[in-house]
Amino acid sequence: MGKIVLSAILALSFSTSLSHAQSTWTGGDDLPTSPLACDGAAAAAAAFPYDGGEPTDAPDRKGKTLTVVDVPKLVGIGYFNATSKGIADAAAEMGTMNAKTDGPSRANIDDQITLIDNYITSGVDGILFAANDPVAISPVLKKALAAGINVVGYDANSEPDARQWFVNQAEFNGIAKSMVDAMAAEIGEDGAFAIVTSTFTTPNQARWIAEMEAYQSECYPNMKWLETVEAQEDNILSFNQANTLINKYGDEMKGIFGMTSVATPAAADAVTQAGQCGNVAVVGLATPNAMKPYVASDCVKSVVLWNPVDLGYAAAYVLRAVADGTLEPGATSVEAGKLGELQVINGSEILLGAPFVFTKDNINDFDF
């Protein structure tokens, strides 16, 4: 018993001392942040030279039917079902692409690498990927390039030279701006908020949070950043964590950011069940299907997300263009079917467009 008391006290003192040192967000990686201007004026687009890779001895694939594999971070979640659907739509439209989606059942870097490796061996023409880790995935992608396979990323990038092009759904700083702006609009420029994310090591989430902090401290210095909690990809845990935040801060907390498709609906549900709709705003990244009940009940005003179906669709078109040789290093735009002309940014990235904001009016038009 004494041992427990001792360790509990130790744990407590240990933790409180740490909490003082802890400011808001220090996670993510050490990459610099680049917050957008507060008024939304587009920064002058600096022209970057192409920094992507090139496949070695790629056969001429112009106009030929391509065998393509799409390897998302993981299968079995709504988001990547939607990207997969976009890819399938594009493939059907083109008629010259056999695309199939296969991914790990857990968001696990090793399983993903193994899968890609297998597909290199099986001899596909193109690989579409969404990386679980930007660095870890790079060696295997380079191997794919070396085998003459066209490689295009979407959703989550690798190192630039490990793929040819990356379809950027929205730049990190763009998402950050949309999220923080939406929150500020709902809770005012001096409100306090907290964040529920999956894990601190998830790269996209970590980058978004880092950009959000940079943008908020620059543009809304009076907003108060309360804390960030982890909730895995577990919806009940997300729900419990959001509840605990509501209980801890009471009226002090005006808003919750949900950083994943799992955390956002769970946070919205926590707010709903706590009877705090209207008092605590929920802003987050999520797929529309998961958010429909909360948007319908007016508890959540806006859900930020690009359209993942479009993301997959664009990625498929980019791959086609690369294989055909119509998209070459130095190009400034690419034609992507019904999406029209997409811009090239940062040398080897293709921007899908501004993030999409789902509201009560349009959310029922989407099904993913």
Binding site: F14, S15, G76, N81, V229, D269, K292
Partner: protein, 333 residues
């Protein structure tokens, strides 16, 4: 609690001196006491740091938010008491939650959507139980295999879609009865019912007997194989109830396997004092341990433990509980 049932033996036989009630409880339910003490201690300390910790809403979060884990741990406790283990239960709960949600939105009556997972859970675990009891494959092997099959199967079939538009009456975990959240009531009622059943029914006692001495159980005429299958089936039924609580907590269901759920459930069970060597422990311990985990999780947020160190602190607390129990046992012998 009704007094109609016979109380367990407490009064000493004539002419014999027996140790005090408290001491007896501590001797019999030592681990439960350790866990309870840890919960009380955490409550006291954290409340001193931040009094909001014990506001009513937070108590609901702590006691109700993880109730589905406690319910699943009841079945797990029975399985572990027979000397077996089940690492597939997390995947099973994911599957059953999806079954419940799919039935609810496909126009089946709500009662059916709520009852079906229980029977599906029993059916799946009956197969596992048969493989363990009759084919004599160690339970960890069968359930490792079942884990892969259930997880892979769920992904192939559903692709992890969200199920929304759930009928409001289906969402029983959000409702309250007598002012108390339904998951909490489920947890308390099922824990007490299971405890009493295991203490007062011949079947319940045979679970302890099989775990404590399987050979003797055979010689005493207990149909060990059949009982094992039944225990797994009952465990499946509890997984079904847990899945319903899991599925109806939010207005949407994601048809995936909750990450590491089986480890959480097993950890709660063993920290609660159920011996992995079989034959001893109670479901009260596993429920208390679930509450302890929920308390730790909430407490660490309330006292501003850096989220980065959160899991390390949880690990440390689990280790401390384990060591405290071991020291207690050593002192006793």
């Amino acid at each position: 609690m009704s007094m109609a049932v016979n109380l367990p033996p407490i009064r000493p036989p004539t002419g014999q001196k027996r140790p005090g009630l408290l001491r007896r409880i501590f001797a019999e339910y030592g681990q439960e006491c350790v866990v309870l003490a840890a919960i009380v201690l955490l409550f006291v300390v954290v409340t001193l740091v931040n009094p909001r910790f014990i506001n009513a809403n937070n108590l609901v979060t702590i006691f109700s938010g993880n109730a589905y884990i406690a319910v699943a741990a009841i079945g797990m406790a029975m399985v572990i008491m027979t000397g077996n283990i089940d690492v597939s239960v997390g995947a099973l709960i994911g599957v059953l939650a999806t079954v419940a949600g799919t039935l609810a939105v496909s126009g089946y009556p709500i009662w059916f959507a709520l009852v079906a997972p229980i029977f599906v859970g029993m059916a799946v675990n009956t197969v596992i139980g048969v493989l363990v009891a009759y084919a004599k494959i160690p339970s960890i092997v069968v359930t490792l295999g079942a884990l892969s099959i259930l997880r892979g199967g769920l992904i192939s079939v559903t692709g992890g879609t969200w199920i929304s538009d759930l009928p409001p009456d289906f969402l029983i975990a959000q409702k309250r009865l007598l002012g108390l959240p339904v998951p909490f009531l489920f947890m308390i009622v099922l824990t007490i019912a299971a405890f009493l059943w295991m203490r007062y029914s011949a079947f319940g006692r045979s679970i302890y007997a099989i775990g404590g001495n399987p050979e003797a159980a055979v010689a005493t005429g207990i149909p060990v194989e059949r009982r094992l299958v039944s225990v797994f089936a009952i465990h499946g039924a509890f997984a079904g109830v847990a899945a319903i609580l899991f599925a109806t907590q939010l207005q949407v269901i994601q048809s995936t396997v909750p990450p590491n759920l089986e480890l959480t459930i097993i950890t709660a069970t063993v920290i609660g004092g159920v011996s992995i060597l079989g034959g001893s422990g109670t479901v009260i311990g596993s429920t208390l341990a679930t509450i302890l985990f929920a308390t730790i999780g909430s407490a660490l947020i309330f006292i501003n433990v850096s989220a980065y160190w959160l899991r390390a602190v949880i690990g440390l607390l689990i280790l401390a509980t384990v060591l405290a129990d071991m020291l207690r046992r050593h002192r006793r012998t």
